[in-house]
Point group: C2
Chain length 369, copies 2
């Protein structure tokens, strides 16, 4: 890719422009708001000069509702060989391009999963997309060359490409972004009129769950409107669970034992499914947590033995992430599982061995940890 136009110099558009400029692509900036375009130019995102001839790619970083019209105009002006957008919904732009008579063969939908608390060109960063997912939604009519141009864009921005159907994409973001936004807003809304004394008693959990409720209402109204049915489907399922939990809370002190038991089971069920769902949320790219392995040790059940084990292992430079202790009622021995990083297992075993503690026999460790 040698040349590109970025239409719309907000946070995303300017960040794309910065990333492309840094990789040697000549980037032309275009925004109806000339002050925003000038700000993007001032931070080094590209030039305000109009391109001479067709550019390789036009990135339409405009609100979802404008994509169809902007694309049709750009195609009529023969602006670029290939076109993509960065909107967080994909079904509707595809439909609108059809509706306004745009050419679907030179267009590939795109959605980089990145953003920030702040908006506008001055918040832009060339590394905004580094390691993030970037969904591309080619249709059956998208040219292979245009798809490849989209993949090149994602690569130049340092992001990870994922190809999806528009429908699957929109259901995905309804589940993982749009419904969560409303769920956060609804929780934060509970605090809007609450007594100050009550709101004061809050910790990190509340900060986490309400963080995204700070989003710009006008922007989120547009996003939610463009994906309303899929979001409503998620919220309906959510509401069914919510009603079951609330009923369970009310029934926990029922006079009927069977009702109490069912209420406790319902509550437990949603907490456990919450655990399972949480475990499925992908970690931030590049920050995958270390993998820990258990080192089972048998130590004499006498005062100070545990402390000696900890200090010997720590002195050997092995970080004990966690420990599980099992009680032995039959014999005077303690069964301990030290959780250490995979890379430190061998060193931990040496320490255990050198101190005359024995490994538990019934659960041998893999030979090559």
């Amino acid at each position: 890719m040698r040349s590109a136009v970025v239409v719309g110099t907000g946070l995303i558009g300017t960040s794309v422009a910065l990333a492309l400029s840094r990789r040697g692509v000549r980037v032309h900036l275009d925004d109806a708001d000339t002050t925003a375009a000038r700000a993007a130019e001032a931070v080094g995102a590209g030039t305000l000069d109009a391109p001479e001839g067709k550019v390789d790619l036009a990135v339409l970083a405009v609100p979802p509702a404008h994509i169809g019209a902007v694309l049709a105009r750009a195609q009529a002006n023969r602006l670029a060989h290939a076109y993509t957008d960065v909107a967080s919904v994909k079904e509707r732009p595809h439909d609108e391009i059809r509706a306004v008579g745009g050419d679907p063969s030179s267009y590939i939908g795109g959605h980089p999963l990145a953003g920030g608390e702040r908006s506008g060109p001055l918040a832009a960063r060339a590394d905004l997309f580094e390691g993030r997912l970037w969904v591309l939604t080619p249709s059956a009519r998208t040219d292979r060359e245009v798809l490849n141009r989209g993949l090149e864009l994602v690569s130049l921005c340092g992001a990870v490409p994922v190809l999806m159907d528009t429908d699957a994409h929109d259901r995905a973001v309804a589940l993982t972004s749009h419904a969560p936004h409303l769920i956060s807003s609804l929780m934060a809304a509970r605090l809007a009129d609450a007594e100050s004394e009550l709101v004061r008693v809050s910790g990190q959990g509340l900060r986490d769950i309400t963080r995204i409720a700070a989003g710009e209402p006008a922007l989120w109204s547009d996003i939610l409107e463009a994906n309303a049915e899929a979001v409503a489907d998620v919220l309906d399922a959510y509401a069914a669970d919510l009603n079951r939990v609330t009923a369970a809370l009310r029934a926990l002190d029922s006079s009927r034992p069977a009702e109490r038991a069912r209420a406790a089971a319902d509550l437990d069920d949603v907490l456990r499914r919450g655990n399972q769902g949480h475990a499925r949320v992908p970690h931030k790219q590049g920050t995958r947590p270390a993998e820990y392995l258990p080192v089972p040790v048998v130590i004499p059940d006498q005062p100070g033995a545990l402390a000696r084990l900890f200090s010997a292992v720590s002195a050997a430079g092995v970080n004990i992430e966690d420990v599980r202790i099992e009680h032995s009622h039959d014999e005077p021995r303690g069964l301990v599982e030290l959780l250490v990083e995979r890379s430190a297992v061998a060193q931990a075993l040496r320490v255990v061995d050198a101190n005359g503690w024995s490994l538990r026999e019934e659960e041998p460790l893999p030979a090559n940890p």
Copy 2:
């Protein structure tokens, strides 16, 4: 305070013991799980020796359901002059102490707003409570000396004391902790059975909103059960808003203009109340964000002027946090508001002055920023 007993050497109990030991208090550790008690001793939290005579304070860091019984037994054994607990609900422990015939005059309820992803004595930290709120719930029958002993405990742990009624405390944590926990679990539960392709498309927002759903189900069942009515009240109000939002999403493409308008207004309303509620969530103690002030500048409306302003201000070492640009249709001038830290306002003004830009006149800055 010269001596204390900590009953229950989990994360919170051991952290309290570490904090007190570090400040020179002689701390006696007590846990029915002797291996946990030994682990707490091994990390330097105190001694396993029984105290000789009454200690100044006994901290009962046991599950909420056991506080009444543990307190009654401790008081019968004349363990301490004053007693407190660390449970995250307060109404029920107060009730249970009455029910088991405990002495309410030597007891003050307590709840430090701290915790961690991990549990157990090995995750304990002496600074776990540093800068955190610690609610104390004295009853009408709590001795003044016992209240002061509670305040001393909070101070020795580096926390910020807040006195509340038990009822207000429990409504507060229902709103700011217990209901948010379920709301997070319910969102995470939506992901438990979702297609992998959909879950993969997720970002920081989903990670934030589902983080607390990782909590231990057994522990949270106990907490929720002890505060069930107050939590159910919050969830009922939440559900009413949720149903209104879902109905609004379904009505956004109604054929009736009035219905569409009402749906859009309903959606906008919850997003705005979410903004308001988010703004009321206290920031983490000690990490209050910098305070920014606007510096209004009038610049010539010509290419490059904005870039020159930015580079001159940046070159002077002033960090521009944000910028607001107003368009002027009447005259060829740009009105710009630079948002800079309070401490940098004077420097920013000097730069503006030195470059011949003028401040906007209608909004003078305070004389002593």
